[in-house]
Structures are given as structure tokens and as C-alpha cells.
């Protein structure tokens, strides 16, 4: 069962990645990328890393895509009309939405494919924490600083703009 689920997730990811490339509208491209990211998290789950699957959904499919949509909305009016045209062919949009729903249904109906149903790595992720704060401590601290600096960059930009407007 794991192999066929992997085929479905991989196939959908590749198809929607190709669609993302072909979309003229940025909204449609962002929605195609959203479907790809959800399928990548399904692959993570099947490969035995449910924690990374949920982080992929929260950080990528959630936070980053919201930022992308806000950036599209912040476009000037003339460009916004061009970006916002949602010409996505509705059958494909339906597939993009129904597939994650079907995967969730399979997950709940069969109490979830056993994490790591590809026969590997079911218990690996319990050792991520000790690794992050052991041999990878320097990298973890560096990434934490990077995230802090990127948030400060965003806040700094907003405050400068408010000063200009006053």
C-alpha cells in the first residue's frame, strides 16, 4: 500500500510542479506550489518522518504561502489584476484539492499508514532533538539567529515605511 500511496503523491507533486511552471497568473502558480508542498509532506510521512511532514505543512504550506499571497496582494493595482487572474483549469484545481483530502481520509480510515510504511525509519525522529542540540548545536544556533534577523528585516522595513508616510 505504501508504494502506491508514494506513486500517487509523487505523481501529483510532479504534475503540479509542471503546472506551476506554466501558469501565467502568480496566484495560480502559488496554488500549484501549495499542492506540491502538501504532496511532499505526504511523502515525508510515508518515509517515516511525520514530524517533518507536519513542519513542512506548517512552515511551508502555511507560513510561506501566506507570505506569498500577501506579496501578490501588495502588488500595484495594474499588476495585481494580471497576477490575480485565476485561470486555473477547474478539473485540475479539483484534483489538487481532493488528493490531500483523499490522503487524509486514507490516513484516518486505516488509522494511518504505519509511519515509515516504506519499511524504513519509523523511530528515527525521536533522536532529532539530541542531534540538533548535540553535534548540530552550532547550526541550530545559527539558524535561530537567521530567523531572528529575517524577522527584524521585515519589521525594520515596515517601520521605515511608516516613518516615510508621516
Amino acid at each position: 500500500m505504501g508504494f502506491w500511496a508514494l506513486c500517487a503523491a509523487s505523481g501529483a507533486a510532479v504534475v503540479f510542479a509542471g503546472l506551476m511552471l506554466l501558469q501565467r497568473s502568480l496566484y495560480a502558480a502559488a496554488l500549484c506550489l501549495l499542492v506540491v508542498l502538501l504532496q511532499v509532506s505526504a511523502i515525508f510521512f510515508l518515509a517515516g518522518a511525520p514530524l517533518l511532514a507536519f513542519l513542512q505543512i506548517m512552515i511551508y504550506a502555511g507560513a510561506v504561502m501566506v507570505l506569498v499571497v500577501v506579496t501578490i496582494m501588495a502588488a500595484p493595482a495594474a499588476a495585481r489584476r494580471r497576477f490575480a487572474a485565476l485561470e486555473a483549469p477547474w478539473p485540475l484545481a479539483a484534483v489538487g484539492l481532493l488528493l490531500p483530502a483523499a490522503e487524509l481520509a486514507v490516513f484516518f480510515k486505516r488509522q494511518g499508514l504505519p509511519a515509515g510504511s516504506l519499511g524504513a525509519g519509523a523511530g528515527l525522529q525521536s533522536s532529532i532533538g539530541p542531534i540538533l542540540f548535540g553535534p548540530y548545536a552550532a547550526a541550530t544556533e545559527a539558524v535561530t539567529l537567521l530567523l531572528l534577523l529575517s524577522c527584524l528585516a521585515l519589521i525594520g522595513r515596515v517601520r521605515e515605511r511608516r516613518k516615510d508616510e508621516r
Partner: protein, 98 residues
């Protein structure tokens, strides 16, 4: 199974690379970058399970965090460009200004 993961990774990576190279909109290029990072993560997670190597999972966690920071900075620059009334189009950007 491994062949399927590798082919998925290669296809996703090169579709992302095509988006970065072919599109002129900075936002579309950023979406291509996100796709390339996700493609590499797919292989890392699968091989981590195959070789029972939790360090690769820790590396994926760090990569996801770095990619989130990259998206924040990239989108901030795009909004900044628009605030200056300039088009977020890579062919219109010629010089680096402070």
C-alpha cells in the same frame, strides 16, 4: 522505491530550476527556489529512513528553517521594490543600490 524517490526528486528539482531560469517575475522565481529546496528534502528524508540516519532528518529540519527565513527576506525585498514604484521583474533591475 528508491528509483521512484530519485526520479521525483530530479523532476521536482529541474522544474524548480526551470521556474527560476525561465520566469522573469521575482515572485515566480522565489516559488521555483522553494520547489528546489523541497525536492532535495524528499531525497534526504527518504535516505535518512533507509540508512537509519537521524542526522539527515535534523539537517532537513534546519533546511526548512533556513528556507523559511529565505522566503521572508525575499518577499520583503519584493514588497520593498514595489514600494519604490519599481516592477518586481528581474529584467528591470540593473544595479544594486543601498
Amino acid at each position: 522505491m528508491t528509483a521512484l524517490i530519485y526520479s521525483t526528486t530530479i523532476l521536482l528539482f529541474f522544474l524548480g530550476l526551470a521556474a527560476v531560469v525561465l520566469r522573469r517575475q521575482l515572485l515566480a522565481m522565489l516559488l521555483g527556489l522553494e520547489l528546489m529546496v523541497s525536492a532535495v528534502n524528499v531525497s534526504l528524508v527518504y535516505l535518512a529512513g533507509l540508512f537509519s540516519d537521524a542526522q539527515a532528518l535534523a539537517a532537513v529540519l534546519i533546511i526548512i528553517a533556513v528556507a523559511a527565513a529565505e522566503a521572508v527576506v525575499g518577499l520583503t525585498l519584493i514588497i520593498d521594490l514595489r514600494e519604490q514604484g519599481r516592477e518586481a521583474d528581474c529584467s528591470a533591475l540593473r544595479e544594486l543600490k543601498g
